[in-house]
């Protein structure tokens, strides 16, 4: 099954290697990994998506915590979340073929962020399936995809807490989190436009 871990790690050299090495050692393939600064001084936030057995979640989380540079780990499997991915897609298009793409972009609520005589660049934010959908439609159209750059998943628990990880730290328990989670206003996974 797919596991998603959100980890707060110290923002210093070598930390990414330590996290990645843990998955390597367990022979688990990382499907996507995003890292960036967080709201917490000196800490980066990682979202790691991997495919592993359903029992593996506990061990991965426990092992991540054994890394000295890892401060918080949240295993958000099954919890209500908002998940987004950013994709930049460069498509070959001339002024004769552009308009068809403009229509597609409109339907998918994506944006054109660059336009040249031979190509254009689409920026799209959304859940994975929505991005996959656009790519598929583009592939089926007459326009050729030249490049795709995807950010990988970024995930945050739903609710009024600034960080599910902070809450997890307070209770030391992810399994019971869902019980006292406020009812989400929007159905899980619904494509809500972030902008």
């Amino acid at each position: 099954m797919l596991h998603t871990f959100v980890a707060y790690v110290e923002d210093r050299p070598g930390v990414l290697t330590r996290v990645a090495s843990l998955f390597r050692r367990l022979n688990i393939n990382i499907i996507s990994l995003t890292v960036g600064r967080s709201e917490r001084e000196g800490l980066s936030r990682m979202t790691v998506v991997c495919d592993a057995s359903s029992e593996a979640g506990h061990r991965i989380r426990a092992s991540l915590y054994k890394l000295e540079n890892v401060v918080d780990v949240d295993d958000i499997a099954g919890a209500p979340t908002v998940t987004r991915e950013l994709a930049l897609i460069k498509v070959a298009a001339t002024r004769h073929t552009r308009s068809a793409i403009f229509e597609l972009v409109e339907v998918f609520r994506a944006r054109i962020v660059d336009l040249t005589a031979e190509s254009l660049m689409i920026e799209m934010t959304g859940v994975e399936s929505k991005i996959e959908g656009l790519i598929q439609v583009l592939n089926e159209s007459e326009s050729r995809i030249l490049e795709i750059c995807r950010s990988g998943k970024m995930t945050m628990r739903r609710g009024h807490h600034t960080s599910g990880v902070l809450r997890a730290l307070g209770t030391n328990e992810t399994d019971t989190d869902e019980a006292d989670q406020p009812e989400p206003l929007i159905e899980h996974g619904a494509p809500v436009e972030p902008e």
Binding site: P13, G14, T17, R18, S21, R25, E55, H58, R59, R61, A62, S63, Y65, K66, L67, E68, D72, V73, L169, N172
Partner: protein, 588 residues
């Protein structure tokens, strides 16, 4: 004594911030952490540190190979419970530590290794003797540091000590560039104190878990306590013993758990697992409740996991949350320090009548007895089991025994009965041949008043035998028993059992070990039959210096019982009837 031990009258720099070179800071921090002995080998990138050594009250033991330094630090830690320290230079010096780090990692041994590295300006340029040692050792250390600023050295070393000894202990490596050793910074020992220790956030001992455990123990008909290395690391010997006695539960031990529960105790079953006695493994397989204390259900302990103790509920008391449900799924997990958890549990445990279950085990034990070997007639052959049993008898078990890896290691576990923790030092997890001799040096240096015996095979002994020079140079009084069967014995045994006796590459030509010892100025003696054992051991013990005994034992003896890898715990290869080491009366 070739070491540079100079005492310094004042440790003022530990209380008053003082400008020191990075090299001086290394030693000053070690002194501040309570270190008085290190094991090391100098070289270019660590030379500034060696240059400053004489100013500090630290005994440096010069090894013959850096692997020896890491095993010595390991043996020092296992014998004393303190953090062992090894020092090496960059490149090959650092890579030679890797086996020792992995050995300590697998057995959760607190150790700090300090390596020099090339100057920070040329890091990553493939400079002479440069290697990415923090990259190489990442999976075999609990944590490691690459330090290239003088002002970071003290904090890194202090943090390393905290990491090494906290929670589930383990080795830490601190790699320090040469320029960081040469430059000067203000040394402020107090300010370099690491942030407060953060226990693993998933430690969890819930009231409900305790209540469940109490209920399971109360209702169990056939309970067994499985005691591992955690009993010793946590210092939970008394608590385990109280639990066993109060609830009348027999105790089976892992290899690294030996000594954590007295061998002579009536509730002690002995070692479990691949070479555990039949009654121990049978008891586990028939059990309806296993109380696992500070052990990790290693594959050498469980056999095939799918057939392991299928009738038993399992309570797992363990300090490392990542061990819970890793190999064996458990019913109740109490994740915390073993001694503390047992302290919580014990007031709720009431007396139980375990007589029936204990009697069942006693019956399966029969009159057996491996102990009977001492009464066997002399057949002209010297058996390893005899030697080890006699060593136990003659020393009264009051020695630290450091084993290598292989058949002799298992015989030691079977025939040398350990009453006290830290009296058996052995590489359990990694199974590192060559461990015994250097680890014994570390153990003797840590416990100079203890009698220390090395028990090693002829194969493993040769892997690190140059450390005989270290023994000679440092005047370390240890006794060495080589169990010499002319084979890589355990591999030969596997070839006998599983590879149609195809003894490929296992017959072994060795030097005359007594002459080898003599070349180092170490006395020795060969022993060929049982009658000589007593006098030989007595001679070794009474010798003022180190002494080597070369026991020429039966060549093709095997360790029984044995669970073939991948078999169930009860599917043992039993002692053959003709083998003079009788296990049960009906085997004769």
């Amino acid at each position: 004594m070739g070491s540079n031990v100079h005492t310094q009258s004042s440790n003022a720099h530990l209380t008053t911030p003082t400008p020191l070179t990075g090299a001086e800071i290394i030693w000053a921090t070690l002194v501040g952490e309570g270190v008085d002995t290190v094991f090391g080998y100098p070289g270019g990138a660590i030379l500034p540190a060696y240059d400053a050594l004489r100013k500090f009250p630290i005994r440096h033991i010069l090894v013959r190979h850096e692997q020896g330094a890491s095993h010595m630090a390991d043996g020092y830690a296992r014998a004393s419970g303190k953090v062992g320290v090894a020092i090496a230079t960059s490149g090959p010096g650092a890579t030679n530590l890797v086996t020792g780090l992995a050995t300590a990692m697998l057995d959760s041994i607190p150790m700090v290794c300090i390596t020099g590295n090339v100057s920070s300006k040329i890091l990553g340029t493939d400079a002479f003797q440069e290697v990415d040692i923090t990259g190489i050792t990442l999976p075999v250390t609990k944590h490691n540091f690459l330090i290239n600023r003088t002002e970071d050295i003290a904090a890194a070393i202090r943090y390393a000590f905290q990491i090494a000894k906290s929670g589930r202990p383990g080795p830490v490596l601190v790699d320090i560039t040469k320029d960081a050793q040469q430059a000067t910074a203000l040394f402020d020992f107090a300010a370099a104190k690491p942030r407060p220790y953060r226990p693993h956030p998933m430690l969890k001992v819930e009231e409900s878990g305790i209540a469940q455990a109490v209920e399971l123990i109360r209702n169990a008909k056939r309970p067994v306590i499985l005691a591992g290395h955690g009993v010793i690391e946590s210092g939970a010997m008394e608590q385990v013993r109280t639990l066993a006695e109060r609830a009348q539960i027999p105790v089976a031990l892992t290899l690294l758990g030996l000594g954590g529960f007295p061998a002579s105790h009536p509730l002690n079953l002995g070692m479990m697992g691949m070479h555990g006695e039949a009654w121990v493994n049978d008891a586990i397989q028939q059990s309806d409740l296993l109380i696992a204390c500070g052990m990790r259900f290693d594959d050498r302990v469980t056999g095939t996991t799918s057939t392991y103790a299928t009738k038993a509920k399992k309570i797992h008391i363990e300090v490392d949350p990542a061990e819970i449900n890793k190999n064996i799924k458990v019913d109740v997990a109490l994740v915390g320090d073993l001694a503390e958890v047992l302290e919580q549990l014990l007031p709720l445990i009431s007396g139980r009548d375990g007589a029936k279950w204990l009697k069942t085990i006693q019956t399966s034990k029969g009159e057996s007895a491996v102990h009977d070997i001492k009464n066997l007639p002399d057949t002209g052959h010297l058996y390893a089991a005899h030697v080890i049993h006699d060593l136990w008898r003659i020393t009264g078990g009051n020695a630290i025994v450091v084993t290598d890896v292989g058949q002799h290691q298992m015989w030691e576990a079977q025939y040398f009965h350990h009453e006290h923790p830290r009296s058996l030092i052995t590489s359990g997890g990694l199974g590192t041949m060559g461990f015994a001799l250097p680890a014994a040096i570390g153990a003797k240096v840590a416990c100079p008043d203890k009698e220390v015996w090395v028990i090693a095979g002829d194969g493993g002994f040769q892997m690190t035998s140059p450390e005989l020079s270290t023994i000679a140079q440092e005047g370390v009084k240890i006794n060495i028993a080589i169990i010499n069967n002319g084979f890589l014995g355990m591999v030969r045994q596997w070839q006998e059992f599983f590879y149609d006796k195809n003894y490929e590459c296992t017959p072994l030509v060795s030097p005359d070990f007594v002459k080898l010892a003599d070349a180092h100025g170490i006395a020795g003696r060969a022993v060929r039959n049982r009658a000589e054992v007593d006098s030989a051991v007595a001679e070794a013990r009474s010798a003022t210096g180190a002494f080597l005994l070369n026991f020429m034992v039966e060549k093709e003896d095997s360790v029984y019982p044995m669970i073939p890898a991948g078999s169930a715990l009860h599917e043992m290869i039993r002692r053959p009837g003709k083998n003079p080491l009788i296990e049960r009366p009906d085997d004769v």
